[in-house]
Amino acid sequence: MVFLQLFWTFLKIGLFTFGGGYAMIALIQSEVTVNHSWLSPQEFTDILAVSQMTPGPVGINTATYTGYTAVLNAGYEPWQAVLGALLASGAVILLPVILMVVAVVFLRRMEGNRDVENIFSVLRKAVVGLIAAAALQLLTVDSFGQPALSLQFLLSIAIFVAVFVLSLRRISPIYLILASGLLGIIAYSI
């Protein structure tokens, strides 16, 4: 039952995301492309690109897109797919919203609790690993083409290096994505 699976999966994703959208990518990827095969690895990378070019949090955007696509691929009607999109987005925020309300009512601010500080000191370091894993998992033939002296592979490496360097220099991701896309259109049309 795809609706129940979507709800449960995105409930889990919401509950175990710490440290923002990028930290979420590894988690969504393992659930959505590996455990359930709702999206192909290529489709997942494409939606990440689209997420960075459209407004909104990456977590919401990916949940909405995945919900829509998963329900449609399961053979349902488009209006049911829209329900799937809303269900997945609702599920991803449900538990965090409840927890946040409880936290505001009872804490209002993070007190200097030693246990919490120690946990986050390790958790933040692990989240860096999570983000690195997301990048490593996307280093595939789906994203780069076959590793040979092919045009696609060489151009992909060049784009990767250029975007990596320019992004460190704080050039906006939108420009970098648009430029890479235009380069793709030009290079692969010749």
Binding site: S30, A49, P57, N118, I119, V122
Partner: protein, 178 residues
């Protein structure tokens, strides 16, 4: 008293015009709520930011929940969350519908062939900066490296890695104290 519709409208603006995820929204939220509308003090905003970062979930939605609750209780939360996510959801739904028709288009396919390696680079690039702000040193760099390798090579679920990090941090703090 802050009106629900003002709260909704403020978060609608922030949600509609911020590209680049939750972290890009934080300075806009601060500007709108603290400087422009003067609904809360900077200290209260920063308290909420610290709280939002310590809780699971989507950062922007956590912020909307907490800020909305501080201003107008539970309904305030709902107004802020709705404002924050309604446009992004509509955008993505429209794209998801259109994408099914355009994906096989040869121009779109070439565009994404160029974009895919860029996306990987955009995710990889902040890793070292984040490592710095998470205070990763030579003696602790095994934590992110081990986490990345477990997920990447052994297909360990990121959920288990998160749980292990929580337990490790808790245990380490308790042992250190003794």
């Amino acid at each position: 008293m802050v009106k629900y519709c003002d709260l909704f409208y403020s978060f609608l603006k922030i949600g509609t015009f911020t590209i680049g995820g939750g972290y890009a929204m934080i300075p806009l939220m601060e500007q709108e709520l603290v400087d422009k509308r003067q609904w809360m003090s900077r200290q209260e905003f920063l308290d909420q930011l610290a709280l939002s970062q310590s809780m699971p979930g989507v950062l922007a939605v956590n912020m909307a929940t907490g800020l909305g609750y501080r201003l107008r209780g539970l309904r305030g939360s709902i107004a802020a969350i709705a404002g924050n996510i309604v446009m992004p959801i509509l955008f993505i739904l429209t794209l998801a519908v259109l994408f099914r028709f355009f994906r096989s288009n040869v121009i779109v396919e070439r565009f994404f062939m160029g974009v895919r390696p860029a996306v990987v680079a955009l995710i990889a690039a902040p890793v070292f900066r984040l490592a710095q702000s998470a205070k990763v040193t030579w003696s602790t760099c095994w934590i992110p490296i081990l986490a990345a390798l477990l997920i990447w090579l052994l297909d360990v679920s990121p959920i288990l890695v998160i749980l292990a990090a929580v337990i490790l941090g808790f245990a380490y703090g308790r042992i250190k104290k003794q």
